[in-house]
Symmetry: C2
Subunit: 449 residues, 2 copies
């Protein structure tokens, strides 16, 4: 008789797991049932700001695979189904009030926004940007209110991307950030470069500002954001707030939750001590390869990898998820932004003593048409010179150079050894000393001092 | 009394050595004398095709530092000086007939074109493209002859770059290549993609063609290229031929020449057994980190690194050149081309048993404006799955992705481990599975088969 796999959450992680399991085991051997609260499956949440901003025309473009397409591959996806309980004893889940037996279970419940308890935060015209439905809601508000003034609260990835999207739509945009600079995943000196570019694009960046609440009009629409630095009028308010792993279901079932707040798994994405229970995506915690500590990093690329790993293992293969080094990239207006490894405050927290080096360099040969500059900052361990982290802010070709540093980090290279790396050189692509090598040289000098 | 450092050849390697030595030791401690046959110092030879093609306006833009600028930093550069002998016993060199004593010697004589003995090859209007002076000569011929038809012989880096440059100048261009496809530093299946793009740009690509000679007119100008596939009329002929280390001087002095034809050095760029004798740049051989064999790879980026290493050591510091992995990138018309590690014929020659995988993927999220495709081919060792090499041909963002593979090669990663790499993901920069990860997955599957 066929085993039954139940997947809770049918986005990147869940459906990667389902697809990989299906590739290895057919429906006579493995029945796959996936429950999804929303109406969409397998979509690119990271693409939502570009769709709202008009760079991506159609919402459908963001959907990699529809429920119907999954069904055609013998994966029974049930949208509009909310799983409310997992019973590990009986090996069943409850979805929309009905009980369903499982042999294997993949928990892929994703992340949830961390919403402050500001008065008015549930008002109309106040939007998070986590799901495709959120994107629909933003578009509806923009149209319904003929919105001209937007306030974006929070200057992280989503906040910065949404500020740009709304400027593209012709709105006046104010970005409110509690810290002294936006993009706090960068060190302050690098975040300042981002603030400068946002301001160049006429985004009104207000830093060091604490939001106190939102004032609603008689119809319940948010009209004003109240802060310790005054009030900001708004036709629409976007919450660029962080997320945390969505784990109530797992916690209630008695599954282990780690110190970072995510579900604990082993390298194969199994929940330890619970045969046949798997977890993947934004709801889990993973090993950070630089700190060697557990961490929760909500990113589509990790979710896809983890889901794939779970699915291969469920399918009878062998795969592992070996951890992360903390790589992230984004674009803010004309600026490319990237980081990997540890920023200064993270290195301190992890107990590393470190030196830093910061350089500016051309992205391509300085004499080649279209040359731009980028700034690279590197952290290296004092004494050993081990690379600990890097941040890049700059023009075209800046962001993906972080990958070189991410692979170096993965392999625990020293900045001194990195100065010898055999990176591609030709005038349309790089100066004869690639900026990464220039940064490694500066960091190597800093270590020797 | 000050020591004297003599540098033979004042381009990338030689002047990097001189500059680094000068940074660490001032003129009271170290006198530096550099001899250069030509009139230019420290220029980007790789930029010449872009200058001829008109993308780079001014020849001066290619010069990083003029002789005068070097002199201002207490480096006595003598252009128009040809060194004709090195006397290791007396520790002196002969330049323009005069003898000069040295304590330390850096040999940076570069590469020399491998010229076939075709009749007519020394005719007027027949040009190599190695030096700035060659570039001047090409421009002079184009102007003087009001050239309309160009024949480029050899479809390697220089040949392809020059074909594009001449098309940009409005010439009809025929590219003759002996092999079945251009870019033989790629495997044939990847080289075909390059041929297709060149043809799309109206370059007449003729492969499998052996040149027999050039016919000159009464004034000594080359007018026709004779081949086993017929005759090709030409107003200008460009030789995209290979180079080899220029080592007569070193060989005559009794210095060791290795199996690849380059001067032998240790990791600090010292010529072993000869105290105070250093060599760097296109004239040396280096360790290939994948084959573990000596190899000679003429590239500005290696020359700069090696010169820097020699200079730091001469200056009293410590630095090493730890070898290469065979990375090279170029652009042909709208196509980005890259390789690292071993291609199939090299892997065979080195005794590796290997599998290959080839994938096509988007450079950025498929739904993001301007998405293009790229093809990545990976070679991995049979059994162990160790990455052996990679080739990339494709649109924007294709070439520099080779750096990720170069760093993975450097660290002897397996393709299986590479599937977990934490590379940057955001829709403007990458699909959620970066093409490198897609290729690693395909290669990992191939290894397991």
């Amino acid at each position: 008789m066929a085993e039954r796999l139940i997947v809770v959450g049918a986005d990147a992680a869940g459906m990667s797991a389902a697809s990989q399991a299906r590739r290895r085991r057919d429906h006579r051997d493995l029945q796959i049932l996936a429950f999804e609260r929303g109406v969409h499956t397998s979509y690119s949440a990271c693409g939502i700001p570009y769709w709202i901003g008009g760079l991506v025309e159609d919402q459908d473009d963001l959907v990699a695979r529809t429920p119907q397409q999954h069904r055609e591959r013998d994966i029974d996806v049930r949208t509009g189904h909310t799983v409310t309980a997992i019973d590990l004893e009986r090996r069943s889940v409850t979805a929309n009030g009905e009980s369903h037996h499982f042999d294997q279970l993949v928990i892929a419940t994703g992340g949830e926004p961390v919403l402050p308890d500001w008065p008015g935060i549930n008002g109309k015209g106040v939007h998070g940007v986590q799901t495709l439905d959120d994107g629909d809601a933003v578009s509806a508000t923009l149209a319904e209110r003929d919105a001209r003034r937007a306030v974006v609260i929070g200057g992280g990835y989503i906040g910065v991307e949404m500020a740009e999207a709304l400027i593209r739509k012709g709105l006046q945009v104010t970005l409110l950030e509690r810290s002294p600079q936006p993009m706090t995943t960068l060190d302050p000196d690098m975040g300042e470069l981002v603030a400068a570019m946002l301001e160049k694009f006429d985004i009104d960046v207000r830093t060091g500002v604490t939001v106190q609440g939102l004032e609603l009009d008689d119809e319940g629409w948010a009209r004003t954001v109240r802060t310790d630095a005054g009030e900001f009028a708004a036709d629409i308010v976007v919450l660029g707030v962080g997320t945390r792993p969505r784990v109530e279901l797992a916690r209630a079932a008695g599954l282990p939750i780690g110190p970072s707040g995510g579900i604990v798994t082993d390298r194969r994405m199994r929940v330890p001590g619970h045969e046949g229970i798997w977890a993947a995506g934004d709801c889990v915690e993973v090993r950070h390869r630089v700190t060697d500590q557990p961490t929760a990093i909500p990113l589509g690329t990790h979710a896809n990898k983890q889901g794939r790993v779970a699915g291969i293992n469920i399918g009878g293969g062998y795969a592992t998820f070996p951890g992360v080094v903390g790589t992230a990239v984004t674009k803010a207006c004309d600026l490319e932004i990237a980081r990997t490894g540890l920023q200064e405050k993270e290195a301190e927290k992890a107990g590393f003593a470190y030196v830093t080096a910061k350089i500016e360099s051309h992205n391509i040969a300085g004499y080649y048409p279209g040359a731009e500059t980028m700034t690279i900052k590197i952290l290296a361990e004092k004494g050993t010179g081990r690379l600990l982290g890097a941040q890049i802010v700059g023009g075209s070709g800046a962001a993906k150079r972080i990958d070189v540093l991410a692979v170096a980090l993965w392999n625990e290279m020293t900045v001194d050894e990195m100065t010898g790396l055999d990176l591609g050189y030709a005038p349309p692509f790089s100066p004869v000393w690639d900026p990464v090598l220039v940064a490694a040289r500066a960091a190597s000098d800093a270590v020797r001092k």
